[in-house]
Amino acid sequence: MASRGTAQRPNGTQGKICQFKLVLLGESAVGKSSLVLRFVKGQFHEYQESTIGAAFLTQTVCLEETTVKFEIWDTAGQERYHSLAPMYYRGAQAAIVVYDITNQDTFTRATTWVKELQRQASPSIVIALAGNKADLGNKRVVEYEEAQAYAEENGLLFMETSAKTAMNVNDIFLAIAKKLPKNEQTGNAGTSGQGRRLVESEGQKPTSGNCCK
């Protein structure tokens, strides 16, 4: 008897949903919360309150084959809360490290965040660097090329963003969603590549298994 294929989902048309934890890190007042607010609700508040804690929101990004659901943890940027950051980046599959293009110190701080993530976070974490407040080009002190070179060196996704104008906001999340490993095979998630450090150069797809839900 010929029978092609085993049982599949009766409505085999929907892609699966992968859930990922994403954390935003960076100096205070660089616009982490504004980026999230723009991404999740499409809003921008000129005077966004300072985050004292870790805000939590979810947002879904639909890709061709899969749907990526982000659990976003927007952390407090103030230095005194630094020691609490690991609570949020531990177990995160993605991080956006944000700096303010009009403030050199925030870029320096961003690089130390990247170092900390590379050292302490999951080895397969996808890190994106966001140069926010790109709408304030006339006050720019961090050059695009400088940040891009740094990002390339460290295998980071990089975009200059503006929560105010929405420039590149969806794009950076989308880029992360695309870069996140989505295991196509079910059942063997998380077994391969555990603990392997990936050298992520352009075009190289991470192979380590962060399990899709």
């Binding site: 008897m1 989902r9 009766p10 048309t13 804690g53 939590f56 879904t60 639909c62 609570m87």
Partner: protein
């Protein structure tokens, strides 16, 4: 939930005659929420209904724990589909998709025997209804039950509006307590299943129909091998190539071997010839072949459609000898073409002219027993959008003699004969093929011919001709284009029949699908974000101005629920910390619920006591803590607690105190820290800390004859006044009663970082208690300052004991008291101590007392001399 007791509780909701067949727990899926329900199949007479009950307690204990929420009559309007989430291999939840009165309800069940039983009970009830076709009046008992719940329109004329589950969620009548959402008692459904369900509801919005031409063919070949023939005249006689072929054979092989071993070379012979006879203008690919003894069904598709044909599975049902064997019965192929599920069934029903009831029964058996078991639980044939039924159904003409029938037929007058066709008659009576359609028959009967000819059967039996070979269909958007026989093929006593259909298949418009899918996701995101717990706190900085040793101070933190759902909050541990706050802080309550619009006052109390003071003095800790206020399923808020600690001699080590010649408040905090860490010690330390001396001296002068000294509690306020007197320095006399002074002395000894006799010597002390000499040797080993203080206090105690007539003290009491201070247990051992207290602790305490006792009753002048 199928124990007899529980079934009895459910039964108690119904009256006599109404029988609860089965009941089980399931989750009612409403949008992205799931709530627990009991679903039960209840029957009365030959009618059944699916009953949905709300349980206030799970499992229900008494009658009143259950409320009937909905009753769905299992009648012509009732549809039930099963779906699963096979991609998650370990948790295969079963989805029961019930449509009744145009309302779709979806339940999620744990797979297992219970779920299987429930599903089969439902399908059995459907079958029973299909047989009886009870009038609506039979269902009146349901109306009586629902009277108090919701009036149910039995006639089904009135349509309930199709409810968008998301709208349901936002509406008020949602039956789920919001608290359950926040506490996670009602698990937020995994999105995937919700999305799949939601997308299924919106199918019309993102699908369009596409015409598929189907060729359905059936032929009883009477066991003849396909030698020297081709089938083009049957299979490719039309101009347009069909998209799908479903070709059924009966009596493929009449040999005993085929019957007993279900093995025949004919399968491949016929498959081969069929595949060579398909329409030449298209390329075909076989998608399934299924055979049971002589019944074989092959399905082909044009190669181009192959990627869109999924979920192909097959099943067979034998209804022959003993109702089981494969000489009669059906074989079936189920598949999904694009987004439309299709089932092809090739049947060979019971033979013999008079046996039409047997044929009806075979049909019903095939319907009931066909299960595509690769679905879990198995999918019945009814769960398809389109069903094509072909085969040798064997219905005859009995009410007209063969001669007369042949006369009509010879004259091309089919109608008088067709009228007497058993299948036509039985269908009209609703006994078989309910809901199926058949195209008008315009061809001569296909049975029975002399093989090799177009002549009617000339054997002795002289059977009346009959339309044994038929094609019927069920489902929407199926157009019959042709229905004919193919007399050119003569090897059998049957002629082949074929039918052409133009069927509308739902195809997903990928762009629309994405758009709707994305919108749905956004809607779910929005909902999920809106329903996140939200609170505001009145402050994130709690500042305690001045904190003194052993003087508790508290502040309030107000947490207000400003969101839409109840909030459960909890102060959580930071990373690898042992506790959610420092040991000098206590939070009450540290976890609680807050209803929307309500608030909660949280008391933060700081108390620097003997356990924490020394850490503040030595710089090992500071009055600074960041609390993480976590909202369950939501965000975290950081609360910073700070305070200024007024340093005190309490909590200082003896080693530091002897280097402080002035009241401690006059010494900068940094200096104390230096001394605590043995840095920059002064040249000329005291031999005994002045605070010890001051306290002992006070007691010596004013308390030596006080009855109950060290046995009577002092006043806490006086102890605090003594603390200030010591810390600030004063010309006035020391405040407080001698009892408070005594307590201050003990507290001073108790708040040092380490007990007077260092921890590392404790076990030695305890094992030396039998010998004064050994005890003395240990004391000799003590660091000088400790030894001096130890002997100083012992000397004072000896002095006290010289006045026992006045103060009533005895050496054993004092030894026991001071033993517990000199040899204080490790604070970490607090947990152990609870365990130890009943058994070993008294022994430890006795040994400590015994150790000190030696120094209270023996002359120590030799010590002091040194």
């Amino acid at each position: 939930m199928s124990t007899p007791e529980q079934l009895a509780i459910v039964q108690s909701k119904f009256t006599t005659g109404e029988t609860v067949v089965i009941a089980m727990e399931a989750k009612l899926c409403q949008g992205w929420l799931k709530s627990t329900r009991l679903i039960a199949v209840v029957n009365k007479g030959s009618t059944s209904a699916l009953v949905v009950l709300i349980t206030s307690r799970n499992p229900p204990q008494v009658y009143s724990d259950l409320t009937i929420e909905k009753i769905l009559p299992i009648d012509q309007d009732f549809q039930c589909n099963i779906g699963t989430d096979e991609e998650q291999q370990d948790v295969t939840d079963v989805f029961l998709n019930v449509t009744c009165r145009k309302t779709r309800t979806i339940f999620e069940m744990r797979p297992g025997i219970a779920a299987t039983n429930l599903v089969s009970a439902i399908f059995q009830a459907i079958d029973v209804y299909q047989k009886n076709k009870n009038p609506t009046t039979d269902f009146l008992w349901i109306q009586k039950l629902t009277g108090s719940v919701r009036s149910l329109d039995i006639s089904g004329d009135q349509e309930e509006t199709i409810s968008d589950p998301i709208v349901d969620l936002e509406s008020q009548d949602i039956n789920i307590s919001r608290r359950n959402i926040a506490t996670g008692k009602t698990p937020i459904a995994p999105r995937e299943s919700v999305v799949r369900y939601q997308m299924a509801c919106k199918e019309d919005d993102y699908t369009y129909t596409k015409n598929f031409r189907l060729f359905i063919g059936t032929w009883n070949v009477n066991g003849q091998p396909p030698i020297g023939i081709t089938l083009q005249k049957w299979l490719s006689c039309d101009e347009e190539p069909p998209d799908i072929y479903a070709i059924g054979f009966q009596e493929l092989d009449l040999s005993k071997e085929a019957f007993l071993f279900n093995d025949t070379p004919r399968e491949e012979e016929w498959r081969h010839i069929v595949s060579r006879s398909l329409h030449p203008d298209a390329n075909y690919e076989q998608i399934a072949l299924v055979r049971l003894v002589g019944m074989m069904l092959i399905v082909f598709t044009q190669t181009a459609h192959l990627p869109h044909i999924k979920n192909v599975c097959v099943d067979t049902v034998g209804t022959g000898i003993m109702g089981k064997m494969g000489n009669k019965g059906g074989v079936a192929v189920s598949c999904t073409i694009h987004n439309t599920s299709v089932c092809f069934i090739n049947a060979h029903l019971a033979a013999h002219s008079e046996e039409y009831e047997r044929r009806n029964q075979d049909f019903a058996d095939i319907c009931a027993r066909l299960h595509f078991s690769t679905y879990a639980p198995s999918k019945g044939f009814k769960d398809h959008d389109q069903i094509y039924w072909l085969g040798d159904l064997n219905y005859r003409i009995t009410e007209m003699d063969a001669f007369r029938a042949k006369q009509f037929l010879a004259g091309g007058n089919l109608l008088p004969v067709l009228k007497l066709d058993q299948l036509e008659q039985q269908r009209k009576l609703g006994k078989v093929f309910q809901g199926f359609h058949e195209a008008d028959i315009t061809f001569k009967p296909t049975y029975k011919y002399d093989p090799g000819t177009d002549n009617w059967d000339s054997s002795e039996k002289g059977r009346a001709p009959a339309w044994c070979d038929r094609v019927l269909w069920k489902g929407e958007a199926i157009n019959s284009i042709a229905y004919r026989s193919h007399p050119e093929l003569k090897i059998s006593d049957h002629k082949p029949v074929s039918s052409i259909f133009d069927s509308q298949v739902r195809v997903i418009d990928v762009a629309k699908y994405r758009k709707i899918h994305e919108d749905l996701m956004k809607k779910l995101d929005k909902l999920e974000n809106e329903f996140l717990p939200q609170v505001t706190v009145d402050t994130t900085e709690v500042i305690f101005e001045t904190l003194r040793f052993d003087e508790p101070c508290s502040k309030e933190l107000i947490v207000a629920n400003t969101g839409q759902v109840p909030v459960e909050f909890e102060f959580i541990k930071k990373l690898d910390d042992a506790s959610y706050c420092k040991d000098w802080l206590s939070i009450t309550p540290y976890t609680d619920f807050i209803e929307p619009g309500q608030k909660c006052d949280i008391k933060l109390e700081v108390r620097v006591d003997k356990r924490s003071a020394w850490k503040l003095n030595s710089g090992a800790d500071q009055l600074y803590d960041i609390l993480v206020l976590h909202l369950v399923n939501g965000k975290d808020i950081f609360i910073t607690v700070t305070g200024t600690y007024e340093r005190s001699c309490f909590g200082c080590s003896m080693e530091a105190l002897i280097h402080i010649p002035v009241p401690i408040r006059e010494v900068p905090a940094g200096r104390i820290m230096e001394l605590e860490n043995s840095k920059n010690l002064s040249q000329d330390p005291y031999s005994v800390p002045k605070e010890i001396w001051l306290l002992v001296d006070r007691l010596y002068r004013h308390g030596i004859k006080t009855p109950g000294l060290f046995e009577t509690q002092g006043l806490h306020s006086e102890v605090l006044a003594i603390r200030d007197w010591l810390d600030v320095g004063s010309q006035d006399a020391m405040p407080g009663s001698v009892h408070s002074v005594a307590e201050a002395l003990l507290l001073l000894l108790d708040s040092t970082p380490e007990p007077l006799i260092p921890y590392n010597l404790h076990s030695q002390c305890l094992s030396a208690t039998a010998s004064y000499l050994q005890c003395k040797q240990i004391v000799m080993q003590l660091p000088e300052i400790r030894r001096t203080v130890f002997l100083y206090i012992c000397a004072f105690l000896q002095e006290l004991l010289n006045h026992t007539q006045d103060n009533g003290l005895d050496a054993k009491t004092l030894a026991s008291l001071f033993g517990s201070f000199f040899l204080r247990d490790l604070p970490r051992a607090r947990d152990d101590r609870i365990h130890r207290s009943r058994t070993i602790q008294p022994t430890f305490d006795r040994k400590k007392a015994a150790f000190v006792y030696h120094f209270l009753i023996n002359d120590q002048s030799d010590f002091i001399g040194r």
